[in-house]
Symmetry: C2
Subunit: 166 residues, 2 copies
């Protein structure tokens, strides 16, 4: 497929496609990043302030993506696969992940301050763990649609929450 | 590439390739599964009996794979991508994941019995969480080689271990 064919399918002049993107590779990179960004809206995560609100958001994301348009998850898989040979794409995806982890680390830090999350691990380490567990659960749910990912997210919330002092 | 070309590259008679595999697709599926099975040897996991031994094993696996032959992680990514359109491959990968989760659930169950892991979540839910976190960390490490996955695994061990009663 050429950028000309893409312009035709989108019913826009070819000039507007070639003006915005330096060739097909850049167009595909932008399309992949746009899709990934819309799968996990950063704004929704930004609005979350407590661990109790975070876990349901992750479960909702997983449920939506699992049952969503296969083309969408196809783009996600393709972006991962492409990132192996496409350095700019990998950098952009890595930067996106860093933004998520930074937000998660802020949330964990605040909850540790409120004594909701135990302080035995750093906010950065826990943020990496939460983000990885979420993406790993999505991957496993796509491979095995019968997998109960919701109970795994609940388990993560239980582990992260400080156990009631008895 | 044809099965004939593959047989030539492997210096084996074409008959032995066509005898063992029903065409190129099946050969590629078997190659992908073989690679994935050797990336995470089930036997190593079977030998682990405690949470304290599990976390270092996960960190070792992540470290090995992260710095390993890019062709190997390429096969992993490709297998994930292909599983979207290849049902038999997806089933085989899902079955493999179930085997891992079953072993992890047995380990978690034993550690809950020994009062090492808190019993606020089921062994199955915690096993799903541990397996997903491991795979998610691998994915993130491949996208972002600077990411400290070891501290995230340590954090997971801390969360899973029952906090000392004070």
């Amino acid at each position: 497929m050429t950028t000309r064919a893409i312009a035709e399918r989108a019913s826009v002049p070819h000039g507007s496609v070639s003006y915005h993107f330096r060739g097909k590779q850049e167009l595909l990179t932008e399309a992949a990043l746009y899709t990934v960004e819309h799968m996990f809206p950063l704004g929704e995560l930004e609005a979350v302030e407590t661990l109790a609100d975070l876990m349901p958001l992750i479960t909702t994301w997983l449920g939506t993506l699992d049952s969503t348009d296969p083309a969408l998850t196809g783009v996600l898989m393709e972006a991962m696969r492409e990132s192996e040979r496409d350095n700019p794409l990998r950098h952009r995806l890595a930067t996106m992940l860093r933004d998520y982890r930074r937000l998660l680390a802020d949330l964990v830090h605040a909850e540790q301050h409120r004594d909701v999350v135990p302080s035995g691990a750093t906010p950065a380490a826990l943020a990496t763990l939460i983000a990885a567990a979420g993406d790993g659960l999505l991957l496993h749910a796509l491979l095995d649609p019968e997998l109960d990912v919701a109970e795994a997210v609940t388990a993560m919330g239980t582990l992260l929450g400080r156990p009631p002092t008895t």
